[in-house]
């Protein structure tokens, strides 16, 4: 028996919106500690990890760990039927092949019940080791989204370089090049507007902007985004989910090489 009552139902809606384009099908794992998801995109370049801790739910009951395979597109369709202020309750019976979403309007005037079929998904759960990152940048999520959006109009890839000066996003495309430098800025009125750079050593990595833009769909979940970079490791783009968890996107860097040198000639 599974019953999760989430007062701030919009969170779940936003979560789905942020990942459904990246991942089509995924297993939601429910355990006593929380509601989580880990999935890779179809090309195995990016990985999304979601955690909603049990404490974040008004009511959390999970008798035994359960993994529910869902099509995220379908789930999103159902969640769209929920109002932004609705309370969402996820229910599933042991052994059942369906999951039920119940939406209650804040005033309890309206109660909707949606039952969705589950699916069997071969899950490839990856172990993500704890790692020390060379550089961690925290910045307003809207700013990051803007940068990624802007750069994607110019080039396909973004080079994120963190130095003492700040974090630089640069791209190069047919029409030209672009460089955006964000300096550390902690003297702001609101803490969420700060740009904070923690750097142990300079890092410069190249990523596909397509994925970055996909990640920024999670911006509504949080005012700030944390970008953790380390050479030799995928970048982590993390959005905190109000007090109850996070959604993290891992993206493998592009291999930087001199194409002329290594590319076989045709």
């Amino acid at each position: 028996m599974l019953e999760l009552r989430l007062v701030q139902g919009s969170l779940l809606k936003k979560v789905l919106e942020s990942i459904k384009d990246l991942v089509t099908d995924a297993n939601f794992d429910c355990s006593a500690t929380g509601f989580s998801l880990q999935a890779m995109d179809s090309s195995h370049v990016a990985l999304v990890a979601l955690l909603l801790r049990s404490e974040g739910f008004e009511h959390y009951r999970c008798d035994r760990s359960i993994s529910m395979g869902m099509n995220l597109g379908n789930m999103s369709k159902m969640l769209k039927c929920a109002g932004n202020d609705d309370i969402i309750t996820i229910k599933a019976d042991d052994g059942s092949d369906t999951v039920t979403f119940m939406f209650e309007s804040p005033t309890q005037d309206k109660i909707s019940d949606f039952e969705m079929k589950l699916m069997d998904i071969d899950s490839e759960h990856l172990g993500i080791p704890e790692a020390e990152y060379h550089a961690i940048v925290r910045m307003p999520s809207a700013e990051f989204a803007r940068i990624c959006k802007d750069l994607s109009g110019i080039g396909d890839t973004v080079v994120i370089s963190v130095t003492k000066e700040g974090v630089k996003f640069s791209t190069r495309g047919d029409i030209g090049t672009a460089n955006i430098v964000c300096r550390q800025n902690t003297t702001v009125d609101k803490p969420e507007e700060a740009t904070i750079i923690e750097m142990n050593e300079p890092v410069s990595l190249t990523f596909a902007l397509r994925y970055m833009n996909s990640f920024t769909k999670a911006s509504p979940l949080s005012n700030t985004v944390t970008i953790s970079l380390s050479s030799e490791l995928p970048v982590v783009v993390e959005y905190k989910i109000a007090e109850m968890g996070y959604i993290r996107f891992y993206l493998a860097p592009k291999v930087e090489e001199d194409e002329d040198e290594t590319k076989p000639q045709v």
């Binding site: 890779m40 090309s43 195995h44 370049v45 990016a46 990985l47 490839e124 759960h125 990856l126 172990g127 993500i128 080791p129 396909d156 047919d174 596909a208 490791l233 995928p234 891992y250 993206l251 493998a252 860097p253 592009k254 291999v255 930087e256 090489e257 001199d258 194409e259 002329d260 040198e261 290594t262 590319k263 076989p264 000639q265 045709v266």
Partner: protein, 570 residues
């Protein structure tokens, strides 16, 4: 030596090491201050005793290894590893300071850069100038069997001999070679070459180590008497090569004798060398490459005679490690692998190049191999030292036309040699003992993998075309192409006798080489005047486009990392 002078040198060393961060080796010291190599070592030793804590010292150890008492080993070790390294030597080994430097360079080639450059300078001096490198006056090892006669043809009674491995300074033989080269140029090549090769182990070592020294002149030697005998029109080339071989084998004339000696000694020496000086070879080669690269860039522009190919290939070549293979006889080849520095005689290279160029695919055999391999180094030299090496070659009466083109041919060869090397070498180089060499080769292979075969095929064609094409002038033009890359074009000026075919092939080749280049700069041979133009125009663009297309298609996925390579499944 006066005390004062010693003090002055010591101060100079300190300045060089601490301020200019130069690597000061005893060889460099010896040549620079005209002291004997032993004195230079003593000076360094003294310097180390006084300033030992503020710098890094590389020692040279020589002696018999415990686990391999048969052969004589020379090894360079850094200060901290000295004691450990000594343990590996059987009984007494000689320990000397090889060099002092502010820090142990990551790239071992750095250790020898300075002396290489220095040696190069010495070698590029006018042929008539006696310098310490040419007369070998500071070398601790002299070979009494090697004499210089008036004509500069080395006479030696000694066949292949194995001596001490370390010859720090150029040997007399080299001098002889040089002289002979100068005097007789091509014709002498055969003789010279043989002597050079023929030099006992020390020479080999020398080659490896001091290759830097042997720039233009020295290298010429390896051509065999065949040249003399067979100096003939192009068609003969193939034969020539072969004849060279045969002649050396049969050993009729003195030159032949030398040639044979050289072969043998080399193979032997190489075998030993692999054990002895592995690091060196690698390092030296690299050093040279570095040096060459720098020079090549500058010089290539100026070369009148160098053809496009040269440029393209040359630049490429410079980038890579060179492996010199000496295959005296087919079977001996395996052992003969030598990581030689690019120092081989230019003259030789020229001739060989010619020959090789003519020798078509058929020649891929060992002969080609040898020549080609050797050519490579030479090519480098040429590039760097254009002035010197080229002139003599051109002067040759026999193959005048060819000669003029020698530059071109060289380049081509280089290219060719590379690919072949990759393909063939790998097979032939099986020996475990040569791990180092192998490594080197592999490196090259990797780098070249992209374009190995083209090189081979094209090379042949190219060679022909290039070799025959009369004098042309190449001009470099740089522009930015539509993709935003810098494209350096080599444009030919001058009359063109060659067949279009050759040109086209040549262009093709050039292109391929261009593509190979690691740089973003794409060198392509584009505008060729006259007949060549057509072919060029076609081939050039085609290739480029193809390349571009390929890139785009392939690009995205190959470059994108996979998350699974970072995280493992649970």
């Amino acid at each position: 030596m006066a005390q004062i002078e010693t003090q002055g040198i010591l101060q100079d060393i300190e300045t060089l090491v601490s301020d200019q961060l130069q690597v000061v080796s005893y060889k460099w010291l010896s040549r620079n201050y005209l002291v004997s190599s032993n004195d230079a070592k003593r000076l360094l030793q003294e310097f180390v005793e006084n300033h030992g804590n503020s710098l890094e010292v590389v020692y040279t150890l020589s002696g018999q290894l415990k686990n391999n008492p048969v052969s004589y080993h020379v090894r360079l070790v850094s200060g901290p590893e000295l004691a450990e390294a000594k343990e590996e030597f059987d009984g007494n080994c000689s320990v000397g300071v090889y060099s002092v430097q502010p820090c142990i360079p990551k790239d071992p080639a750095t250790i020898w850069n300075a002396e290489f450059v220095q040696a190069e300078e010495l070698h590029t001096q006018a042929p008539t100038v006696e310098n310490c490198l040419r007369d070998n006056r500071f070398c601790g090892i002299l070979n009494s069997f090697v004499l210089r006669n008036v004509e500069g043809t080395p006479l030696s009674t000694a066949g292949p001999q194995l001596k001490t491995k370390l010859a720090s300074e150029p040997s007399k033989i080299n001098l002889a070679h040089q002289d002979s080269v100068i005097l007789k140029q091509q014709q002498n090549k055969g003789e010279q070459s043989s002597p050079k090769v023929g030099l006992p182990a020390p020479n080999v070592v020398k080659d490896v180590k001091s290759e830097s020294n042997g720039i233009g002149v020295t290298h010429q030697p390896n051509k065999h008497p065949a040249d003399k005998e067979k100096v003939a029109p192009l068609p003969a080339n193939k034969k020539k090569v072969q004849s060279d071989k045969s002649s050396s084998a049969s050993g009729g004339s003195l030159a032949n004798l030398w040639g044979r000696a050289s072969v043998k000694s080399k193979s032997n020496s190489t075998a030993e060398n692999s054990n002895l000086i592995p690091t060196h070879t690698g390092a030296s080669a690299e050093a040279q490459i570095c040096a060459r690269e720098a020079e090549a860039g500058v010089i290539s522009d100026d070369d009148d005679q160098d053809v496009n190919f040269k440029r393209a290939s040359g630049s490429e070549v410079t980038r890579k490690r060179r492996v010199v293979f000496d295959f005296s006889d087919e079977d001996e080849c395996e052992d003969a692998v030598n990581l030689a520095s690019p120092e081989y005689p230019k003259g030789k290279s020229c001739q060989e190049l010619k020959e090789s160029s003519k020798t078509l695919v058929a020649l891929k055999t060992n002969l080609n191999f040898d020549e080609q391999v050797e050519d490579k180094p030479e090519v480098k030299e040429e590039i760097s030292v254009d002035g010197k090496s080229d002139p003599p070659c051109r002067e040759d009466s026999t193959v005048v036309s060819k000669e003029s083109n020698s530059g071109i041919i060289l380049t081509e060869k280089t290219d060719r040699s590379v690919p072949e090397k990759d393909v063939n070498k790998m097979d032939k180089l099986a020996t475990a003992a040569k791990t180092q060499i192998d490594a080197g080769i592999i490196l090259t292979e990797k780098k070249r993998n992209s374009v190995p075969e083209k090189g081979v095929n094209k090379m042949d064609k190219l060679t022909n075309g290039a070799s025959r094409s009369p004098q042309r002038r190449k001009i470099l033009k740089t522009r930015i192409d539509e993709r935003g890359r810098e494209v350096t074009e080599v444009i030919w000026e001058g009359k063109e006798t060659e067949a279009k075919k050759a040109d086209s092939s040549a262009t093709m080749k050039a292109d391929s080489s261009t593509t190979k280049k690691a740089d973003n700069t794409v060198t392509s041979v584009t505008n060729r005047p006259a007949a060549a133009q057509k072919s060029v125009a076609n081939t050039g663009p085609k290739n480029q486009t193809a390349k571009a297309g390929g890139k785009k298609a392939v690009n995205k996925d190959p470059k994108q990392g996979n998350i699974l390579s970072f995280f493992k499944k649970v």
